[in-house]
């Protein structure tokens, strides 16, 4: 197994675990954590392809990963704010009980 393949397999594993967390957990915060894990796995792919690319000095993959980290931070802040707001309204963070559009 070449080094790049190893990193790609690790990223695929973390992505699948994050997807499983987002799909199977009831708590909205755990769904957000699963999404963060998936974003991180994508970043690992970008950095690995950047490292083994023919022209790493162009910095494309690295810049993608840095901007993606910034967007993920913004997403986490807004998502957790929404979870807190919904909890205050519905008194639960369980997504299976959030089945009403109104009130």
């Amino acid at each position: 197994m070449t080094p790049l393949t190893g990193y790609l397999i690790v990223a695929a594993l973390v992505f699948a675990i994050g997807l499983a967390g987002a799909l199977t957990r009831r708590n909205a915060i755990m769904i957000l954590i699963g999404i963060e894990l998936m974003l991180n796995a994508a970043n690992l792919n970008l950095i690995a392809f950047w490292r083994y690319s023919p022209h790493p000095e162009l910095l494309s993959g690295m810049m993608f990963a840095i901007f993606s980290i910034a967007v993920a931070a913004a997403e986490a802040a807004v998502g957790l704010g929404l979870v807190i707001s919904i909890y205050r309204h519905a008194r639960t963070a369980d997504v299976e009980e959030m089945n009403r559009m109104k009130g």
């Binding site: 695929a12 199977t24 957990r25 755990m30 954590i33 690992l44 963070a93």
Partner: protein
């Protein structure tokens, strides 16, 4: 592919797995911090020092703290009686296993054509700063606007509703 790579990968994957499986949300948040830290170590091993330290600062420093705050504000540290997994957990598990199988198969199929050896990239923080100010200045400005909007939006969304009605 040395021993260090396997050790760090076990850290990252084990942390992620523990985060998804642990019932107590505070424990899950700590486990996901370990996973973020392991991924940052993988970035450092890929000679991406700036991205690795940005990962530690943003994820281990900020996102993990935000998650813990949200858990405590929503009383998420109590384990619910009806369990932590949804009713359709089997379908979710099957979908994620299928996604992993497809991605791993694709990687293994493409493995012979992927580059496997290259020189260590000689990239300094100076080069990254120059690139951010020249070629990537427009995305940088857009990210700045996005972060400001997200900050204000998160505060407004999480603000108390009664206070909004009075004002």
């Amino acid at each position: 592919m040395g021993f260090v790579f396997y050790l760090i990968s076990a850290f990252a994957v084990g942390g992620a797995l523990a985060a998804v499986l642990l019932k107590n949300l505070v424990h899950a948040a700590l486990a996901v911090t370990i996973a973020f830290f392991g991924l940052a170590l993988l970035f450092l091993r890929l000679d991406a020092q700036f991205a690795g330290f940005a990962q530690i600062l943003v994820y281990v420093g900020a996102v993990a703290i935000l998650v813990v705050f949200a858990i405590l504000l929503t009383k998420g540290s109590e384990v619910p009686k009806e369990g932590v997994f949804s009713r359709s957990w089997l379908a979710g598990l099957a979908i994620s296993a299928a996604v992993f199988a497809v991605v791993a198969w694709a990687v293994m199929q493409a493995a012979p054509s992927l580059p496997n050896q290259s020189a260590i990239p000689a990239v300094t923080v100076n080069d990254i700063g120059n690139a951010l100010m020249n070629r990537y200045v427009l995305p940088l400005e857009i990210i700045a606007v996005l972060l400001t909007a997200a900050l204000l939006g998160a505060v407004i969304v999480a603000m108390h509703e009664k206070r909004a009605k009075q004002g």
